[in-house]
């Protein structure tokens, strides 16, 4: 039984490895956003909502991973 608990913990840890990709993705989004605004400051109002949309869509991937971790741990 203890082995199952340990395996669950390890599995939950592995499940959130998806955060590697999410971190890279979020960094990319905000880097591109900063570059875009720096090159053309007047485009800020059009770039910002798109960037935030991209942030929300990428962050969702992290939450999918977190959800799987929760399912492994608690369900």
């Amino acid at each position: 039984m203890e082995l199952v608990t340990a395996a669950k913990m390890i599995g939950a840890g592995i499940a959130v490895l998806a955060l590697h990709g999410v971190g890279i993705g979020l960094g990319n989004i905000f880097a591109s956003m900063v570059t875009a605004v720096a090159r053309n400051p007047s485009a800020r109002d059009t770039v910002f909502p798109i960037g935030i949309l991209g942030f929300a869509l990428t962050e969702a991937v992290a939450l999918f991973a977190l959800l799987i971790a929760f399912l492994i741990l608690f369900a």
Binding site: I52, L53, A56, L57, A60, F64, L66, L67, F70, F74
Partner: protein, 242 residues
């Protein structure tokens, strides 16, 4: 111990229980907060519309900003032909926004943190958009699954991928909202547990909770926005077929 679990806050408790032919139709706390959200939004919009003045008061200004925000969103993302979809998207946005924000008040229940609620909303969007596409374009609607200009040789590869991505829309739409809300509230509860455990040093997690609450309010608004923007994009897809 059971009450201290970070997932305990998502328990559904029947308030008025009754059954109809073996089906549990109890009025539970989830339904209660859905009613509260719908009533609050209705009061806001109706009171702004009934006693409308040329120079808006505070509440009328809030209602007008909400209306204008969603109107711009529909126009920009769903295209100029999507005007008649505005009431649908507005109802969806305001309902989710009210639900998310009410959930940020301590000791309330967040109905959007349950997959069945968000999945029902996403399936409504999915069926509405699909039926609309078929009514508008007939069988040309299937053209949406093969982008024009793509090499015909790739059709056996592209069409299954497009069909699969089309069918997975309600899943991704619902899981995104549900997972965001559930993860956020669980995280607040976990940090709350740290604050209790650490005694005097609990001020550190408490400061973290303070920052996270602000972040969660941002997420609450953002997820309502993302849900409605994606709905608008799907509507545009059905109207213009790519």
């Amino acid at each position: 111990m059971e009450k201290e679990s970070p997932l305990h806050q998502f328990t559904i408790e029947p308030l008025l229980s009754f059954k109809l032919g073996g089906v549990d139709l109890s009025f539970n706390n989830s339904a209660l907060f859905m009613v509260v959200a719908a009533v609050l939004i209705s009061i806001l919009m109706v009171s702004a519309a009934v006693k409308s003045r040329l120079i808006p008061g505070r509440w009328q200004a809030v209602a007008e900003m909400l209306h204008g925000f969603v109107y711009d969103m529909v126009r920009d993302n769903a295209g100029p032909q999507a005007g008649k979809w505005f009431p649908f998207v507005f109802a969806l946005f305001s309902f989710i926004l009210a639900g998310n924000l009410i959930g940020m008040i301590p000791f309330t229940f967040t109905f959007t943190s349950h997959i069945i609620v968000t999945f029902a909303l996403a399936m409504t969007v999915f069926f509405a958009v699909t039926i609309y596409g078929f009514v508008k374009h007939g069988f040309h609607f299937f053209g949406a699954f093969f982008p024009p200009g793509a090499p015909v040789l790739l059709a056996p590869l592209i069409i299954p991928i497009e069909v699969l991505s089309y069918l997975s829309r309600p899943v991704s739409l619902s899981i995104r909202l549900f997972a965001n809300m559930m993860a956020g509230h669980t995280m607040l509860k976990v940090f709350g547990g740290f604050a209790v455990l650490l005694g005097i040093w609990g001020v550190a997690p408490l400061a973290m909770i303070f920052a996270l609450t602000g972040f969660e309010i941002l997420v609450a608004v953002l997820q309502a926005y993302v849900f409605s923007v994606l709905t608008c994009i799907y509507i545009r897809n059905a109207i213009e077929l790519h």
